[in-house]
């Protein structure tokens, strides 16, 4: 690990000032400290934001949910309002990492997670994200866990967050505060696909701080849930995951919110699946028909072709779990 200076800030303006001066924000630190030890991350100055008043979790007046960026994963997962309004968020969080890590890691940090690609984490390997222009060792390397959607010639790493899959499905917004003031970014625009600039991972301006993630209101009753398929039963990143939320009224699906994890370079909204569901009556046949288009546009690599079929099956199964058959 390289040396760094350390400053703990007690209010948001001081944080933004320190961040604008080139400081790197640290909240839970579970990703950052790990990557600093691997020398993948080499910040010269850490700005500790853990004391900022950004931890509230509350229903919004329209029936949505606002989660402070510094709320810990464990707190959000266990929060009665979250469990009642959006089980998909609680489930995604509780299927992430370990109890110890969930006690440390924040929601803001969770969506800021960097790739788990082994070549990204190995400073001796070629990686365009870590070292732009150096190449991508994963493209022709061991890429069984890599992305099949949203990839580019420059990068094929998946986004590792489970919560981000739920946020993408539910069309969350990310609240930001920077030197230029506040702004709000839709989740679909917050995480960036690699394209030709894989080193740019989020829609963030210099010094900007995530203050909250907000879930808009959705029609009620809303049934939702998260399914995670992985190589071991617990404490592992997703091979495939699916976040599903459905509002059924009069026997017809009025609202369908679906996204997948483990397949995209960003959490992957499944709009084609949603379109096949809306206006239809729940049935076994419908879940199969809708899931059939889950992998549209997929471009498998040498070792991850299995993800195409597994994605369809995972989505189908979770549609059945959340939607039932009637």
């Amino acid at each position: 690990m390289y040396p760094f200076s350390y400053t703990k800030v007690s209010d948001v303006p001081a944080a933004v000032k320190a961040g604008s001066d080139g400081g790197r924000y640290i909240a839970g630190g579970t990703t950052l400290v790990d990557l600093m030890r691997e020398t993948v991350e080499r910040p010269g100055a850490l700005v500790d934001i853990s004391a900022l008043p950004l931890r509230d979790i509350a229903a919004t007046k329209g029936g949505g949910l606002r989660i402070g960026a510094l709320a810990r994963m464990a707190e959000v997962a266990a929060h009665p309002t979250v469990r009642a309004l959006y089980p998909v968020i609680s489930q995604a969080l509780e299927l992430s990492a370990s109890p110890q890590l969930r006690n440390m890691a924040s929601i803001g940090g969770n969506i800021m997670q960097r790739p788990r690609c082994t070549y990204f984490r190995d400073v001796t390997a070629a990686c365009n994200r870590r070292e732009p222009g150096s190449g991508c060792a994963a493209r022709e390397g061991f890429n069984r866990t890599h992305a099949i959607l949203g990839t580019s010639d420059h990068c094929v790493a998946t986004h590792p967050s489970d919560a981000a899959v739920a946020f993408a499905a539910l069309e969350a917004t990310v609240h930001l505060l920077g030197p230029g003031g506040e702004r709000t970014v839709g989740f679909a625009d917050f995480l960036l696909r690699p394209g030709a600039t894989p080193q740019r991972e989020q829609n963030l301006r210099p010094g900007e701080l995530i203050t909250a993630v907000e879930i808009p209101s959705h029609p009620r009753p809303l049934r939702s849930g998260y399914l995670k398929v992985r190589d071991r039963q617990s404490y592992e990143f997703a091979l495939i995951s699916a976040a599903v939320a459905l509002h059924v009224r009069g026997g017809v699906i009025q609202t369908a919110k679906v996204a997948a994890g483990g397949v995209g370079t960003v959490s992957w909204k499944l709009s084609a699946v949603e379109r096949r569901l809306i206006g239809q009556r729940p049935s076994e046949a419908l879940w199969t028909q809708a899931a059939e288009v889950a992998a549209e546009g997929a471009q498998p690599l040498t070792h991850n072709g299995f993800k195409v079929e597994l994605l369809k099956r995972t989505v189908e199964r979770q549609l059945r779990v959340v939607g039932g058959t009637r």
Binding site: G22, E38, G44, P99, L101, M104, D122
Partner: protein
């Protein structure tokens, strides 16, 4: 796998010897400059060279006030093991993947290896060494003995500290629930069945 810049490695004095001599336990102030050796070799990125790279931190470890000046890079695990001589918490992966370093910080179980010591001003830390009450073992320590829940024992302190977190959080409703909520602690000897039984035993005891 490289985990340190080479310049930070070389020092005439062994790190363990050096830090042990510059730390004070029990309220006294440590005056040693722990970062002098690595920095003299010029490993710092430009942004950090002008800045202060070590910090004085005061925290409570197993009920005792501790003050130490630490290199900002020092993890809680290294503070415990290398500075304070509390070697019960183990360094397995040093990457948050094995749980051998699990301790309680302000009552919550966390990975000591991913916690920067400099961030713990005012915190209360409990390690495996802080569990005994006089000469009586904590019920979960006793349960690990009763259930024969270890072989090599390397992961055991982390398992027990994590088990205490699991008990406090109330995730002991079934063996399945215990397994899920103890999944952050790996045991390469494969004692999971007995570890689960030990947590069940301690849950009944409560």
């Amino acid at each position: 796998m490289p985990t340190d810049p080479p310049a930070a490695e070389s020092s005439a004095l062994s790190r363990r010897t050096f830090v042990t001599t510059t730390v004070a336990v029990g309220g006294a102030v440590a005056v040693g400059d722990l970062v002098a050796a690595p920095l003299a070799l010029g490993a710092a990125p430009a942004a950090a060279t002008e800045a202060v790279l070590s910090t004085r931190v005061s925290l409570v470890v197993n009920g005792k006030q501790v003050t130490a000046t630490v290199d900002n890079r020092t993890s809680l695990l290294d503070l415990l093991r290398e500075h304070l001589g509390l070697t019960g918490s183990k360094k397995g992966c040093n990457a948050g993947a094995c749980g051998a370093c699990t301790v309680l910080v302000d009552g919550r179980r966390v990975n000591g290896c991913l916690t920067l010591a400099v961030r713990l001003e005012g915190a209360k830390v409990t390690t495996i060494e802080g569990l005994e009450n006089g000469d009586r073992l904590h019920p979960l320590q006793q349960a690990f003995i009763d259930q024969d829940a270890f072989q090599c024992g390397f992961c055991t302190p982390g398992q027990i500290m994590s088990g205490i977190g699991c008990l406090q959080e109330g995730h002991t409703g079934s063996a399945d629930e215990i397994r899920e909520w103890m999944s952050g602690n790996l045991c390469r000897c494969g004692c999971y069945v007995k570890i689960t039984r030990a947590v069940e035993q301690a849950a009944r005891w409560k």
